[in-house]
């Protein structure tokens, strides 16, 4: 007996080594997998952040502007009406020519003018309108640089690359270098990015319209999907009889959660736009479509949250004579609410990042003005990113990454909120 025991110990010890080695190996694979995942994530984030960060600064050129009445084409003492229609672009061009008198050829002149953004004209107009006394005077004015000039000033293009392949030509680089050496260039935080809608000019393009569009769309989504989802979950969990029909409904809800989102877009197009003739490109339709998409998520998570409520609370409520409805609304829902909210927030975060179904219902339009209501044409953040990513200009590349950063910021915020709610729920 004791001999046998001894032998067993030996055998076990021999196998132990192998077992531990296997365990070690497995742990190593696991760590490698996690590492790989993090590496990809890091590369992605690094790429986006390094590309997107420059978009948050704007370059300005200090130009000695001569507000000549002649160039503006206005008579002395002109009214506001006339001043707002004056030729500010002519003034800018003339001022630039004066600063660089050597420029003579037509093509060089065009290049010179191209260093300043169109947006600068509106700045000048606003300045003149607020102070008509400027007319006839000279003044150093910071003018918004064109995105191409800005990209050189931000160091995104180098002289070494072949001239034919870049938009900023050598002459422009010379002028910009000269301006920089004279201290006539400056950087500032890009407020336009947050205050403006889309634009053909990268330096003027902003995400305001898309943000507002996303806000309206999500508002519609939330107002529809949350109450409908929660009530559906409460009904299915607490009141519906368990039979074939409810089983079928349950299976379908689970399947619905797996339907590709673009299918919901097609549905929205066919039903809401073509049949009900709701406005195209509007957050209303976008919100309805996204609510169809988020509904299964909300129903499933809400049911799970309701199921997780301890039956003893239900029994306690029923035991003092609460009706079923009272039990649910007074006791079950309040306890389940953090879980329901968590699920809803995750659903809303999915909706916020969704673009495919919105493309189908025409929310892909070029939108300069922020929508004022849910029926105005609008676009949303992910679609705006899609549009910019499609534009060849270098200026839009950085805008794309910057918009992704903003979108991710919101997603992180929403998920953090969800985690916070869950944590609070758990500690209770």
């Amino acid at each position: 007996m004791s001999k046998e025991t001894f032998r067993n110990t030996e055998l076990i010890q021999a196998s132990l080594k192998k077992r531990y080695a296997r365990e070690k190996r497995f742990q190593l694979y696991g760590q490698l997998a996690v590492l790989a995942g993090f590496a990809f994530l890091f590369i992605l984030l690094f790429d986006i952040v390094s590309k997107g960060t420059p978009a948050f600064t704007q370059k300005y050129l200090l130009v000695d502007v001569h507000f000549s009445a002649d160039k503006l084409g206005v008579a002395p003492g002109a009214g506001e009406e006339e001043l707002s229609r004056a030729n500010y672009s002519g003034v800018i061009k003339a001022s630039l020519r004066e600063m660089f008198p050597d420029v003579s050829s037509r093509s060089d002149k065009r290049r010179l003018y191209r260093m300043v953004s169109i947006g600068a004209e509106y700045d000048l107009r606003d300045q003149v309108l607020s102070d008509p006394g400027l007319i006839g005077q000279r003044k150093d004015v910071w003018l918004l640089a064109h995105s191409e000039a800005a990209s050189y000033l931000k160091g995104q293009v180098s002289r070494e690359s072949p001239e034919a392949e870049r938009r900023v030509k050598d002459v422009q680089m010379d002028w910009l270098d000269q301006l920089r050496d004279d201290g006539r260039t400056r950087s500032a935080f890009n407020t336009l990015f947050f205050l403006e809608g889309d634009s053909r000019e990268p330096e003027l393009a902003g995400i305001r319209a898309a943000l507002q569009g996303s806000f309206f769309t999500l508002l519609v989504t939330f107002l529809l999907a949350f109450p409908v989802g929660v009530f559906a979950a409460v009904y299915l969990e607490e009141f519906a009889p368990r039979n074939r029909i409810t089983d079928l409904i349950e299976i379908n809800i689970n399947n619905l959660a797996a339907v590709p989102s673009i299918v919901f877009g097609l549905l929205g197009l066919a039903v809401f736009i073509n049949f009900f003739e709701l406005p195209r490109s509007a957050p209303l339709v976008g919100g309805i479509v996204l609510s169809l998409m988020t509904l299964p998520t909300i129903i499933i998570t809400s049911r799970a949250a309701i199921q997780a409520v301890s039956p003893s609370i239900r029994e306690a409520a029923l035991g003092v004579g609460a009706s079923k409805l009272q039990t649910v609304f007074h006791h079950v829902l309040p306890v389940a609410m953090p879980g329901i909210l968590t699920g809803s927030i995750i659903g809303m975060a999915q909706a916020l990042g969704e673009s495919a179904p919105l493309l189908m219902i025409g929310m892909v339009a070029f939108i300069m003005d922020s929508p004022a209501s849910v029926t105005d044409p609008a676009t949303v953040l992910p679609v705006q990113i899609f549009l910019w990513a499609d534009s060849p200009e270098r200026g839009f590349t950085e805008k794309t990454s910057a918009a992704i950063m903003v979108l991710m910021g919101f997603l992180i915020l929403m998920n953090a909120l969800a985690i916070y709610l869950r944590k609070r729920f758990e500690t209770k």
Partner: protein, 290 residues
């Protein structure tokens, strides 16, 4: 008591009915020994059968609960005590697979009649559960909830009165009177159970069902609740399930012994504990079985 205690063994009365545990045919139409019926019945069960799907959990049980009395139900785990207790206020209704047949009456009225409202029934037949289950709300709200949903108080002052009264009767008032707005879940286990008792008596039920109310409590808290049960029987009719023979002996006037879904023996608590007539009862209370 010790299983090998010869005095306990020797105390088996001559007329004890012998029964082979494994002989199921002998159990099939078993007649309860003792006095299942009383004159002043508050609740009465007749030929009650309870099924969970195919499982026959309660078989042909007839039993009365006398008014202003404490009835203790004892028996080995899984014998159907909770099931029977829960059928007395239709708590089984919330279990979809549970079916109850037979007749259970409160003051002579069938509680399973189609026109019987479960909300009203549960207001009249309150329940205290094995595990303290206060609402995750304030202590005040825990007690006030029942009266509020039933509209028993017409003013804040009246409600305060009900809350204080109930907490006093549950002998919890002195401990919580300064922290009424604190969550009920923050109390100790024994305090929570007394809070649950206060919650149950706040709606002034006629019957209180208690399912092992002391199983989660220490001896001191248990003693307090036993005292409480003794006082409560002045106003209420009480049915209590317990695993503690001593508790049954201390608080109850009548005791019912269940075994495998059958009501084996009922009688005066004193008689059951000193002179059990059925072998199973005797084995159980002497600790040789269970």
């Amino acid at each position: 008591m010790n299983a090998n205690d010869s005095t306990a063994y020797g105390a088996v009365p001559e007329e004890a009915v012998g029964l082979d545990l494994n002989d199921h045919t002998a159990m099939d139409d078993y007649q309860t020994i003792g006095e299942p019926l009383v004159d002043n019945a508050k609740m009465s069960a007749r030929d009650v059968n309870v099924f969970y799907a195919d499982k026959h959990a309660i078989m042909d049980v007839s039993l009365d609960i006398g008014e202003n009395q404490v009835l203790a139900m004892i028996g080995p785990s899984g014998c159907g005590k909770s099931t029977f207790l829960r059928s007395l206020n239709r708590m089984n209704d919330i279990i979809p697979i549970c079916r109850v047949s037979g007749n259970i009456a409160l003051d002579g009225e069938d509680i399973y009649a189609s026109n019987q409202d479960t909300v009203l029934l549960r207001a009249r037949v309150g329940m205290v559960f094995q595990k303290p289950n206060p609402f995750p709300k304030s202590i005040y709200e825990n007690v006030a909830y029942g009266p509020r949903i039933h509209g028993l108080a017409h003013s804040k002052a009246e409600m305060d009165e009900i809350v204080e009264q109930s907490l006093r009767r549950a002998s919890l008032w002195d401990e919580v009177k300064d922290v009424l707005d604190k969550p009920g879940t923050g109390l100790s286990g024994g305090q929570q159970q007394r809070l649950c008792i206060a919650r149950a008596i706040a709606v002034s039920p006629e019957v209180i069902l208690m399912d092992e109310p002391c199983s989660a409590l220490d001896p001191i808290a248990t003693a307090r609740i036993e005292e409480l049960i003794d006082e409560l029987k002045e106003r209420f009719t009480i049915a209590i399930v317990t695993h503690s023979m001593q508790q049954a002996a201390r608080v109850s006037q009548r005791t019912a012994y269940f075994h495998l879904g059958k009501l084996i023996e009922v009688g005066d608590t004193k008689q059951i504990f000193t002179m059990p007539r059925h072998e199973l009862t005797e084995n159980y209370i002497t600790g040789r079985f269970g």
